[in-house]
Every structure is written in C-alpha cells, then in structure tokens.
Symmetry: C2
Subunit: 595 residues, 2 copies
C-alpha cells in the first residue's frame, strides 16, 4: 500500500502564494510568522505520515468492538497515535491562547486537519468532535463549566462528542425527545433518552469524554424552541478537576458501517439507572442555536476531511499508475500513467483536489478575518463570505471527494476492488462525508434558501465580482486567454442561475418548492465556478513564477491542473445553469406512481 | 430491508410499447408470442423475488470461504437458489433450441438477466460466466467438445468460467504467460500457470466447472497472436459424459473484495502437479479473437447487471423515502419523499435507470436482428449498431449504476451508511462493474477508436439520424416541444464532437493521443444522448397513451421521468462537447511533477 505523504508543498502554495499569508498581518497573529507556519506544516507531516497513516488500513480491517461491560475497544495503535497527537500539543493549535491553545490562524489549523484526515480519517474524527465541544464551551459555557472542562479538552486529555440525532430526529432536530429534569441543584439536570450515530461516543483513548447533548426541559414548548444544550461527562468531575464517579450514560451498541471502521459510532443511552447528570450550556431553549454556531466550524471541517481523503486517493492512484506496466505507448511497454485516458483521470483527481483545497483554505482565511480584523465592517464582510462558502465547502468538497476516491479505484483496475490495495477503503470512508453534519441536500437548501435569501445574494455576488476580476486577469495574458474566457462564462452562468433562484424564491406560487428543487444544482454550479476561480488564480501565480525564471516543475503541473479545471471540469458544472433554467414544474408534480 | 420486486411493468413497457415486440416477427421466433414473453417475465419475477433476492444481504454478510482442501463454500442458500434456477430451465432461455436451449430472443433473456442481477448480483455472476462458456463452445468448439460439454452447461448442471487475467496481464492480455504443452494425444494439452480474478472459479453449487483458459502453445509467437483458447474442466469427463477424475486445477486463494462477497473470486493454479488437462477451442493463436467474440455478449450483460442494481437502488430508496418522516411540508409532518430535493434524487435515479434499460434492450433487439433477420443487409446494419452500442451499454450503464447506487445511499441519510439497511451493499457491489470485462476506459477507446474508426462513424451517425427523428416528433407536439429542442441540441452536440474525434484520430501529430484523451468524455456524451433519445421515445408513447384515454398513472410518471432525462440530465452530458472541443494538448504534455 502507498504510504501517505502530507502535501506540504501544496499547502505552502495556497498559504504563501495564493493567500500571500495575508491573515498573518491580522491583530492577534503578531507572533505567527511564515517560518513558524512552515515548521508547523512540516511537523504535522511527520506526525501524520509516520504515526497516523500506517494505522489507516489496519484500523479499517480491525474495526471497533463493544465489550460486554459497555466499553469500546478501538483498533490497535489508535490510543497511542491519539496520545502522540495530544501530547504534541496539536489539539489546541487553532484554539485561542486565552483558552489554553496556541492561537494559530484557522488557515493553518485547517491545513493540519487535512493532513490528519488524509492520514487516518477514522481517527481524525475524534479530535474533530472535540473541537466542536471546545467551541460550544467557549461560546456558550459559563465560567464554572469552562473552568472545569475547557483545559483538559484543549489539551486533548479528554475528548468531546456531539449528541444530536435520535432515531426519529435526524435532519429535523425539532423532533428530539431526550429529556432533562432539574435535579434540585442549581444548573444540574438529570437526562434520559437515547442518542444514535454518536461519533467516538465511547472509547478508552482518553481519561474522560465530554458529551454535548440536545434535550428538552420539562416545561419546554414543542419544536425547535424547546431544545436546550447540556454537557454530560462520562465521568463526573471532582472538585479537584479529576474524573471521578461514572455517570449514567452508556454505549449500548456500535453501528456496523460501510467505512470509517476505526471510528466508533455509538448508540448512547442516557439515564438507564437514575438519570445522567448534565449541566445546562447557554440559555434554555437556545440549544439548537448554540449547536448551529458550532456546526459552521464542523461543516468546514467535514469539507476539509473530504479533501484529505481525496489527496490520499490522488497519491495512491498516481503511485499505482506509475508502477503498473500494461500496454504500449509509441511501441514500447509503459506504465499505465503514460496512457492518456489514465493520465486524464490522474489529472482530473489532482486538479479537483487542488481546487477544493484552495477554496476551503480561502474560506478559512475569511474565518480568520471575521474573527480578527480590526474594522467591524471588514469582519462583517468576511463573515458574510464565510456564511456563503461554508455550505459549498462542506457539500461540494465531499461530493467531489466521493467521485475522486471512486476514480482512484478505477485507475487501479481490478486491484482497486481488492481491499488489500487500500483504494476501496478511501471510497468507503469518504462516502459518509456527504451525509453527516447536515446532508449535502441540507447544505444546498442552506445556500440557496437562507444564505441567499437574507442578503438577496449580495455576498455571493461580491464573490462573483472577484471571479470576474480573475477572469479578466487571465484574459489579459495571451496564453491564459482560453482559461479566462471559460471562467468569465462560468461567472455569467452563475449570475443568471442566481437570478432564477432568487426569482423562484420570491414567487408566491413556487416559493420554497423552487428553492428546494434548484438548490442542489445551484450549489454544484457555485462549487464549480468558485473552484475554477481558485485554479484561475493558481494559473496566474504559476505563470508569473515561470516568467520570473523559476524552473520548478511544480508550476508546470499547476498550469496543467488549472487548464483542466477551467476547460475540462468547469463546463460540466456550467451545465447546471440549463438544469436550473429548465424549471421546477414537473418535479413538483412528480409522483413515483404517476403525477 | 426492502424486498426486491422485479420491474415487470417497466420491462413490458420497453418490450411491448417502445420496441413493439418487433423481434418476435423475426425468423426463428415463430413460436414466441407476446403472451409467452409476459409469462416468462412473470415467472422470472417470482424466482428472483422469492428465491434469489432474500439471499442478497445474507450472502454479502457471510461471503465465501476457501476450505483447507481447496474447495470453496459459497453463502448458505446459494446452492439451492442456483439449483432452483437451473432446474427451472432458466439457464438456457437465450440459447438456441438446436443447442438445447429455449431459443427466446435476446431482449427477453436480457430482461430476465436484469432481474437476476437486481435480486442478487453475486449469484447472478455464476450463470453470466456460464453463458460466456456456452457462447465460446457454440462459436468455436469442435463437435467432440460440444457433444460433451454443451448440454450440461446449457442445463446449468455445470457452470463455466473465463480465465483471462494473470498478475502481469490485465487490460493487456498479450502478456499472458500460462503455457499449454501438447500431451501427445491429439487436441489434448497440459496447462501450467496462474490465473487471477476468476469469478466463480471454484464452488460446490454444480457437478462440474468448465474453465475457458487463455494460454500459449510452446512455439507461439510473442504478443496477441501467440494466445490460444483451451477448455479445462474441473473434473475430467468420462466417456459416458459423467464427471470423473479431478483435473490439476486448484483454487489457491479467494480475493477479499469491496463487494459481491457472495461471488467467489478465485486465484486458480493450473498444473501444480502434472499439468492440467485442457482441450484446444478453435484455432491455435486465435484465442484472443475467440474470446472477444464472447466478450461482446459479456459486456452487454455487465451493462445489464448495472441496470439491475440501479433498479434495486431505486426501489429501496423510494421505499425508505416514503416511510421515513422528517421535516414539514405545507405545515404538516411529511415523508421525506415529499421534499423536493429528495424527490429530485428519486426522479433522477428512476429516469436514468429507465433510460439505461431502454437503451440496453434496444441493443439486445439489434442483437436479435443481427442474428435472425432474413436479409443479409439488415443483419449487417444491425450488427454495426450492436458494435457501437455495446461499449456504451457496458460503460455508461455501469458508471451510472455507481452514481445511482450512491444517490440511493444519500436518500437514506445516515441510515444509508449503516450496512444493515442494504443501500451501501448496492454501491459496493455495483463498483466492480465499471472495471471488469474491460474497464470503462477500454470501452471508451473501443468506441472512439476502433468502432468509430472502421466505418468513419457511419453506424453512430445513423443512430443520430434516429435521435433527430425522435427530436422532430417531440417538437411537433406542443407540450413536448421543450424536450424535442433539448434532444435536437444533444444530437447536434454529438455530431460536432464526433467530427472532432474523427478529425483528431486522423491527425498524424495527435493520432492515438487524441482518441485516448477524448474517448471517455465522448462515450459519456454518446450515452447521455442515446439514453435521452430512448426517454424521448418513451415520452411520445406515454403521451399518446394518455391522449388515447388511458388513466394509468404509469404514463404520467414516465412523462416526468422523460422530462427529467431530457431537460435535467442531458444538459450535463451535452457539456462534454465543450470538454472535447477544449482539446488535448495540455493533457498530452502533463506530467504529475511538471510537464
């Protein structure tokens, strides 16, 4: 099996050359220099390549086992690999220093996350969920909760979970039934109920697990507004901060999944005995809102996860295609990487992965600006862009990751279907990403409905302005003219489609129907255009470097990837305009047995 | 888990209403009436629904096990289900009566095959491979071999395999190394070598296994022309036709695959002791040619297989979406099938599956004509169409089947990722189909290179004539005008792209490069346009039925599926024209580390 090598050069290209380390000049990052960022990336490459990646296949084969005592054994080596990560201080790199973290920019933390997921997605989920718990506490926890729980979570000594889903409450969380009764003690509740699909809900890799749980107070109204957020630790915490008595929350089963076998997906039962002790986080009845503030970050991370797996698929397919000799080219036996149809697949995988990464890190840079920029107006503008970009990064990156992993199998031919090769695992692992943290359909509705509706498309339109500027810059260079024309066409298609979606949303007859029917094609169009934009920018940088005398073959490869993204990939996305313009009538009336 | 129900109504629609049972008037089918066809479909629906389908999930979970004695245990129930199939006479339905079969048309046999694969793809592979062996014997076996082996194969008492691949010889079979030495006895050889990826290469479901094996004679030249075809039985056959002594061919390992766990994929070792006894089939040095005549049929069957799995995915997703309640519509709780984004997925799955089926059965009807039509010219024209359609049916159906199965998972949300639901198995099973019997890249090269090159695109152009006729018929009906315009646009795109591919192929500078680079986008364009054509024809039939006073909701649903296929699916395929027109230069020069 091909070893995983973290793509440091690719990350440096995006951070240094595309984003020009712009975020490092923001207030709060005074101590973060380009050298430090480079050192962090190199160190993360070592951890992920040497420690995490070698456990990816064995973790898949071995999977997780629930013991009769309710404990869960994760695959051999995972606990040590997690410990190496936590003890290396990696868990807190993106957390602000005031909360015990290293306060590195989100762009840097995101690059490291991609490496973790590329190396071992199943294990990467553990700190990903912990990050959600940290975020929830920082934003909504009171002083007492933060005092007690934040430090061990940031240090990675304890891990976190998000307990949302119940059998009857998935995409529609208003149906949550788990109950929280006041215990008599102020701020302390007893929870009863069942949660499913709880990632890393039980394991022995850390001293304690901090569950963040959606539940209803006794007098709560029906629906969304009756849901509150609670913190339920696996072990209750003594006054000296040490894990003590076992709380009344147990893992009653593990799910048998298509992939991410190394990640325990638990059914958790709260309050089978006397009620699980939990503490209110934030305001009563605001649980969903509190959860959603976390979820934006989590959705970005799932997009990043897809990119990590896509990167690994690229590396593995390329290594196989270079080694496997089959057929002839110009009369001589050759590696299959020489055949143009295989080369086309390799280039398509690479171009898309590069583009998705550049977009996700561009989004991360806006997250940094939204938090750290001096001017309120700058922060707001950045946040508006983040709001539009998050559903795109989540849905488009993960949909594409599935396709890229599947192409990776195809490059392997028959060997791709054999589990020992490792290519199949990447598809099985990646396939969850379009589903969790809000299905990609939900992301599309979020983009085409809520996000577009609330500012009339202003934030997206301002992004399209930037796309057009890049298109013009490309068109001004003779050898990039064709790329510029294609990108300008994409921008025009996007504006036209946006007008249809906004119009449909305003139509009293169609309203939500129109948005629902258009949402997924629209997100696909936005994703293609914004990714092509990034590759257009990459082409400008690469061409400038070559004109400047660089002989680095990296820039030639980048130009080829940009050419593919703009002229062979973008046209497929642009076709979504025609899909949207074809209208929604038939679909709305469709009934599988006759409309 | 949703039970599988063979889509008899859909098959009857294609056979009776789209193809108008045209093949039943061909010479040789005098005894086959519409009633008989209907009875066959109904009976096949019972076998597949009641006997085969219930073993699909358990077969996946249990998988196959190689025993220490080299024998292979297939999953519980498979042997009985196979016996029910063989004893029901199903194995010979498509084989001509003179060879002991029932001599039903290929269109009918194909419909039944789809049901078998939809019910249980892993088990369906066993008779699929046997059909290849039967075809090889009929076309190339001498009287002695046919006398001895054909009847038990046609009856299904014995099964067949195709032994092509070796570790170093996959897509490029010229690299085959297995050797066949004359034994001294006329026509009898001793084979030594190793074959991999041998589907149903060893099992206990039948009395004997007939391996068809590519190998080299001692004096054979290098490359393709040195390869001959041999028949190697698992048990040597006595003069009375009964299986006797065990031949020197053993299963040394089973592959651990992503899916089709119920189908034993074997490593077979020939001649570990004294050489496996084999008999020459056809002419020495013509093994690859003989194999390729079989392969056309096998490729069509793999396409059909994809459609079977896609159909099952449609059924399962729809059943789940109707049952699962989540969210609200018009203020009331509703099943997720009511949400337009889910409905879009369901309609997309259904429209594509219908379209693929119609195209595959249209191809089967041409196969019937090519064999049975009175006039030589009619037969030749039909065969020319078959030659063009086969790679499209194989590659496009299987690529789409993977996408459809993946969409099926998405409709299930989180439950789709849980193996117990069964949706994930469909994707894992389907994922092999774009790989075996010639990867889809090989199919694309076959279409864009060999098939287009040898008649300058004449056969494909004549198909496009038919597409345009359908587009004109649609455009003549006011309410189908938009469909007609879309289809006419698709036909124009296809003609333009064909010109580019033919031109590129003729260019002495680009030559093979151009064809290789364009092949896959071109096949995708052809597939989209021909599938849309079929749905255009379906729309005309459905509209006529409704105008004729039918109140069958089936026709309304068919119109919706046609609308989706022509206006929401075809545009994505049409975008491949732009991809092809963007040219091949960059790709040809691309090197992953710089070009």
């Amino acid at each position: 099996m091909t070893p995983y090598t973290a793509p440091v050069r690719e990350h440096r290209f995006v951070l240094e050359e595309l984003l020009e380390h712009e975020v490092l000049s923001l207030p709060g990052f005074e101590e973060v220099g380009a050298d430090l960022v480079e050192a962090v990336l190199e160190e993360a490459a070592r951890l992920t390549g040497d420690v995490w990646a070698p456990l990816n296949a064995s973790g898949d084969r071995q999977g997780c086992v629930r013991r009769d005592d309710g404990g869960v054994n994760v695959p051999d080596g995972f606990a040590d690999a997690y410990r190496a990560y936590a003890e290396g201080g990696w868990n807190g790199i993106g957390v602000e220093q005031v909360h015990g973290g290293q306060g590195l920019p989100e762009v840097v933390a995101s690059a490291v996350q991609e490496m973790l997921h590329g190396a071992n997605m199943a294990l990467g989920l553990c700190p990903m969920l912990t990050a959600g718990a940290i975020e929830a506490l920082i934003q909504h926890g009171d002083e007492v909760l933060c005092e007690r729980y934040l430090a061990p979570l940031v240090e990675g000594r304890w891990t976190g979970t998000m307990n949302l889903t119940e059998p009857q409450a998935g995409s529609d969380l208003s149906l949550v039934r788990t109950r929280a009764e006041p215990s008599g003690e102020d701020g302390v509740y007893r929870l009863t109920g069942q949660k499913i699909f709880i990632t890393w809900g039980e394991h022995d890799c850390a001293e304690n697990i901090v569950h963040l749980v959606l539940a209803r107070l006794p007098d709560a109204p029906e629906g969304n507004k009756g849901i509150s957020l609670f913190l339920v630790p696996k072990f209750l915490v003594d006054d000296d901060g040490a894990p003590g008595e076992r709380n009344d929350v147990v893992c009653t089963a593990l799910e048998h999944k298509m992939g991410i076998h190394g990640s325990p997906t638990c059914v958790l039962s709260f309050g089978e005995r006397e009620g699980a002790i939990g503490y209110l986080v934030g305001e009563p009845g605001r649980g969903l809102n509190h959860m959603f503030t976390m979820m934006n970050a989590a959705r970005h991370k799932v997009g990043i996860q897809g990119i990590g797996v896509a990167e690994r698929a690229c590396q593995q397919a390329l290594a196989y295609a270079r080694e496997r000799r089959q057929g002839r080219r110009n009369g001589a036996e050759c590696a299959i990487a020489e055949h143009l149809d295989v080369k086309r697949m390799l280039l398509s995988m690479r171009a898309r992965t590069d583009a998705l990464r550049a977009l996700a890190l561009t989004c991360a840079a806006q997250m940094d600006k939204a938090r750290h920029a001096e001017e309120e107006e700058t922060r707001q503008r950045a946040q508006a862009r983040v709001d539009v970009l998050i559903p795109v990064v989540k849905a488009f990156s993960t949909d594409q990751a599935v396709e890229i992993a599947s192409l990776g199998i195809q490059v392997h031919g028959g060997m791709g279907y054999i589990e020992e090769t490792g290519a199949a695992q990447l598809l099985r692992d990646a396939r969850i990403a379009p589903i969790y943290e809000g299905t990609n359909g939900i992301q599309a509705l979020d983009l085409a409905g809520r996000k577009l509706g609330r500012d009339g498309g202003a934030a997206l339109a301002s992004l399209v302005d930037d796309v057009e500027a890049t298109a013009a810059a490309l068109a001004a260079r003779e050898d990039l003219l064709a790329l510029g024309e294609s990108l300008a066409g994409g921008a025009a298609d996007l504006r036209a489609a946006m007008a249809v979606v906004l119009e449909g949303g305003r139509d009293p007859e169609q309203g939500t129907d129109a948005i629902q029917a258009f949402a997924t094609p629209f997100l696909s169009l936005v994703g293609h255009v914004l990714c092509a934009w990034q590759m257009g920018r990459a082409a400008l940088v690469a061409e400038a470097a070559l004109l400047d005398g660089s002989t680095d073959p990296f820039y030639h490869a980048k130009l080829a990837a940009a050419d593919h993204a703009l002229r062979h990939w973008l046209p497929i996305g642009r076709a979504q305009r025609a899909v949207i313009e074809a209208g929604v009538d038939r679909l709305a009336r469709y009934a599988p047995d006759g409309d």
